[in-house]
């Protein structure tokens, strides 16, 4: 009876370890604070109507950023816990985490950083920027977009649900290696949470990919042929095509994992004819291209930033487009380099090694292209450009170590060591995360209508660069010393501890960078009047700068005509900007995405705990919601031209009231020495103060 009602849940499933209690309490407190603020300011209805049910890709983009930012802090906290454990746990000391808990943390850290931070920001940027860049008012399927977003939120809920029910997450590494993640070796609910969290967010990604491919291919402004698209849109198109290729594969693989665990099938088990090697292949066929899904939009973004801040068009547009295509297509045929060590023959290993080496060729072309773009330009070193310059060094480190790992005999020595961990952090932090920071500082004026505080942005940049090197250069060296990844304890005589401590200090410096970034955002909101700017603060080149800042919900009053590449640059030069008002058709807000995702999350929870009635009810709920929505013929509305005119005139009036201020806090030293001075001054001040007091006493 009990099993029918609540499946495998028991009293022990409720929080009882310190971390589950702390985790669930902090989530509850956070929820209460947000609910309190909403109730006090009477904003529940506003939240539901203006944000949660919105189909506006710009609002969905912002919601992706907020979710991703929250998860960045959550994943960052995991990282600090890992660094601290490894700094402490040498010889007789075993640190403060047991092995199981340590393994759960690094698994969650990997999952959260890749799926719920990097993917969140990349999807947020694509949502916000791509429709603006191609001169569209909305997406091909607005409903699919909100559904994709809410399924992603469902994934976040599932990845954190273990705090409340179950108390354990997968302790298997971020890709849940088989057979370790099978029922035999990981019988708990942790791996099931892993499966279902990735399952629903992965389905959301598939939907998003279909939607953006359709949008980019079918909804471009008149005159914008494919070869006139901005490079960020090109990167997004490649990335989404890759996502559509690989995410269905992930979903199928996850189903098979779940069948093995729940129904006792033998796809990936050691017994009964199953083979874990099959899983290793399937998961990496998805897993390797996945990181390129993240990094290719960043390549496109960097191409635009370097061109904007050098005041030049990209040196070779065709090379950039072909280069990104080269990276994207090669990336689909290199997955085996993740397990050269599984025992394949020399021919197989050599093939995948060569393909991996070849990925470096188009990547190097992209880098040369950026150098050639800077050549002969007039380069402004503002924060977006700083992130680009920081990316250069960190990514070169990741690229060089990557080609080393691509050579199979070398990989036999470096695989699964901390060298490997340092390598992929260099590429993902350097390429993806710095790309995201660059994008946020670049497009922030577009999102809000005011700039970010430049000074704090520079401090944050230098804290990140210094912290990264302090933390990951020792990690490379530890790899050379034979330290494998995922160690919760090591012998004292290995002599690794000073390096692990250095890594922890570097981690703290990175956290200082994160704190400075938070401070930067808060400070910018406080002084937003001073930082106010017009629609085109950087002298931009692509169409998003033609829209207002922040853009009106219909993006463009008149759909611009894109006659050339760098369409907005040409429009600016032509001085021929007359406005014509027209009727605008927009999609209506809808709660369908939330409802379906709610049912999907409930179904996932029921799958984890084997609650059969809930599975049936939730799936029926999904089907019924779909049917009801299918009969709704009234999903769009029209804004008459007269109303558009009125809104535009009101906005223009408001804009005139406060003229845009040119950026004037401009330094040549880019803020590094200033940051050091500020920190040293603070520490000295502290010491002097204390010494003085002691002397007085």
């Amino acid at each position: 009876m009990k099993e029918l009602l609540i499946g495998k849940l028991t009293w022990e499933s409720l929080p009882h370890q310190w971390w589950t209690i702390a985790g669930s309490l902090s989530f509850i407190f956070l929820g209460l604070i947000v609910a309190g603020i909403l109730t006090y300011t009477k904003r529940w209805k506003w939240l539901w109507n203006e944000w949660l049910t919105s189909v506006d890709p710009k609002k969905i983009g912002i919601m992706y950023f907020i979710a991703g930012g929250g998860m960045l802090l959550r994943g960052g906290l995991d990282a600090v816990m890992l660094w601290l454990q490894q700094a402490l746990s040498s010889g007789d000391s075993h640190g403060y985490l047991n092995a199981q808990h340590f393994q759960e943390i690094f698994t969650a850290h990997g999952n959260i950083m890749v799926f719920f931070v990097a993917m969140a920001f990349i999807f947020g940027l694509i949502n916000y920027i791509v429709p603006l860049q191609i001169g569209a008012r909305d997406l091909a399927s607005p409903l699919m977009n909100t559904l994709g977003f809410w399924l992603f939120v469902g994934g976040i809920v599932m990845v954190n649900m273990f705090f409340f029910f179950g108390g354990e997450y997968a302790a298997t590494g971020w890709l849940a290696v088989q057979p370790l993640a099978g029922a035999e070796f990981s019988p708990g609910a942790g791996v099931d949470y892993w499966v279902w969290s990735l399952m629903i967010s992965g389905i959301g990604t598939t939907l998003g990919a279909i939607n953006f491919i359709m949008t980019i291919l079918k909804m471009r402004a008149p005159g914008m042929t494919l070869m006139k698209m901005p490079l960020f849109t090109w990167g997004s198109l490649y990335s989404m095509v890759m996502a559509l290729t690989i995410f269905p594969l992930l979903s199928m693989t996850l189903f098979l994992v779940y069948f093995d665990r729940a129904l006792g099938t033998h796809f990936f088990t050691t017994m009964g004819g199953g083979d874990p090697m099959l899983y290793t292949n399937l998961i990496w066929m998805w897993g390797h291209p996945e990181v390129y899904v993240l990094v290719i939009p960043a390549y496109g973004l960097f191409s635009e930033v370097v061109s904007t801040f050098s005041r030049k068009p990209i040196a070779s547009y065709t090379s950039a487009v072909v280069g990104m295509f080269g990276v994207a297509s090669l990336a689909l045929s290199v997955w085996l380099h993740h397990f050269f060590t599984m025992g394949a023959g020399a021919n197989v290993n050599a093939f995948f090694g060569v393909m991996t080496t070849f990925v470096a060729i188009p990547t190097a072309v992209l880098v040369f292209n950026w150098i050639a773009t800077m050549y002969g330009g007039r380069i402004r070193f503002e924060t977006p450009m700083l992130w680009f310059l920081g990316f250069g060094f960190v990514f070169a480190l990741g690229g060089i170590s990557g080609v080393m790992l691509a050579v199979p005999p070398v990989d036999f020595q470096l695989h699964n060591s901390l060298f490997l961990v340092a390598h992929f952090h260099s590429t993902v932090i350097g390429g993806v995360l710095f790309g995201i920071f660059c994008a946020i500082s670049y497009w922030w004026p577009k999102f809000t209508g005011f700039r970010l505080n430049e000074r704090l942005g520079r401090y944050a940049f230098w804290a990140w660069i210094i912290g990264f090197n302090l933390s990951f250069i020792p990690m490379y060296i530890l790899g050379f010393m034979g330290a494998s990844r995922r160690l919760d304890h090591y012998d004292a005589e290995t002599g690794w501890q000073p390096l692990f401590i250095l890594m922890f200090i570097g981690g703290l410096v990175i956290m200082l960078g994160v704190a400075l970034q938070l401070a930067q955002i808060i400070a910018s909101f406080i002084e937003k009047k001073r930082l106010r700017t017009n629609n085109d603060p950087w002298d931009g080149r692509s169409l998003e700068w033609a829209a207002a800042s922040p853009p009106s919900f219909y993006n463009f009053t008149t759909i611009p005509h894109a006659a050339t590449r760098d369409a907005y640059w040409a429009i600016k030069k032509s001085h021929n900007r007359k406005t014509q008002y027209e009727d605008i058709h927009m999609p209506k807000s809808t709660g369908v995405g939330i409802y379906i995702s709610l049912f999907a999350t409930l179904a996932s929870f029921a799958f984890v705990w084997h609650i059969i009635w809930l599975i049936v009810v939730s799936i029926l709920g999904i089907i019924v919601t779909f049917i009801v929505r299918a009969f709704d013929e009234n999903t769009e509305y029209t804004i008459p031209a007269a109303k558009v005119k009125k809104m535009e005139e009101a906005r223009a009036k408001k804009e005139k009231a406060g003229p845009a201020i040119e950026n004037n806090d401009y330094d040549e030293d880019m803020g590094l020495w200033e940051l050091i001075k500020v920190i040293l001054g603070f520490i000295l001040g502290l010491l002097r103060n204390r010494g003085w007091r002691r002397w007085r006493a």
Partner: protein, 300 residues
């Protein structure tokens, strides 16, 4: 910038003095070649990487807007040679590495037996939860978390696993790793060249006891190896099938153990266990209890 980097380098040098940087300290035939190959790859990569990086930052700095020599009028014409050069240079480097990679991969394939004047020896390795069992089929002895091999003699490690997740067998000083899996046998050929004790481990995660799944690889002279074998033979304890069943049970941070003998069919039985279609049903329930006990007992 320069003083910061210099301080950092000095600090690292202080930390690294006298430490075993295993990959730069190869003690075996394979490790030596892998090290040489790695250095070669790094040199080639730095040949393109350092000039590119220098150019990247030099150009960025030279054309800064605040520079007194900043260009006033931008010329957007680009050299016709740009695009071909941009593609050809990295392609050449890619082809050089690829051209070297293919023969090197064949030459250093772990399955390939090493040719030497001495006969090679065979050691069977079983990765268990969470320990390493070594069987010496020619000598008839067995050991746990300890393997002794003679110097300058090729060794073929025949590796599998039993009741354990996929692991990886790695002795960084002697050569690269290979995975150990149930049902399959992976062959790793190594040859040690310098006497000494070297750490070995599984860099692939195998569960809660993974960090403690370590072993020592002792390289000695052939004579010392022979006397070790005869000492182990006379120690008395035999690894019977019953004893082995006990060893298969999960346990953490196991001490070294030595066996004077073992059941001849042991290795074949372990492989065969996973190759019978349809018979191997796993009793998940019983395992659950053992594992959760393990998980909780490992506190400090």
């Amino acid at each position: 910038m320069v003083p910061l980097v210099a301080d950092f380098a000095l600090l690292l040098w202080l930390f690294l003095r006298g430490k075993n940087i295993a990959l730069f300290n190869p003690k075996g035939y394979i490790a030596q070649q892998q090290y040489t190959l790695m250095l070669w790859v790094v040199y080639v990569l730095l040949m393109i990487g350092i000039p590119s990086l220098v150019l990247f930052y030099y150009i960025a700095w030279k054309y800064r807007e605040t520079s007194p020599k900043a260009v006033v009028t931008l010329h957007h014409r680009r050299s016709k040679a740009l695009v071909p050069v941009m593609w050809i240079i990295p392609s050449i480097f890619g082809l050089i590495i690829a051209g070297y990679l293919i023969p090197a991969t064949h030459k250093l394939a772990p399955q390939k037996e090493i040719e030497a004047s001495v006969d090679s020896m065979r050691i069977q390795v079983i990765s268990l939860r969470w320990k390493w069992l070594f069987l010496y089929p020619e000598e008839g002895v067995a050991s746990v978390n300890f393997v002794q091999i003679p110097e300058n003699r090729p060794v073929t490690f025949e590796m599998t696993a039993d009741e354990a997740p996929m692991g990886s067998f790695w002795i960084p000083n002697l050569g690269g790793q290979l995975y150990t899996m149930t049902k399959h046998v992976n062959r790793l050929n190594l040859m040690a060249e310098t006497r000494g004790d070297y750490p070995g481990s599984t860099p692939e995660i195998t569960g809660p006891g993974f960090t403690g799944q370590k072993f020592t690889a002792r390289v000695s002279s052939q004579a010392e190896f022979d006397s070790w074998v005869s000492a182990t033979e006379s120690s008395g304890v035999v690894l019977s099938m019953d004893e082995y069943e006990g060893l298969v049970e999960p346990s953490q941070n196991n001490p070294k153990a030595f066996y004077a003998g073992y059941d001849e069919d042991l290795y074949a039985t372990v492989i065969a266990k996973y190759n019978q279609p349809g018979t191997g049903h796993i009793h998940t329930e019983a395992k659950t209890e053992e594992e959760s006990d393990e998980g909780h007992s490992h506190t400090h």
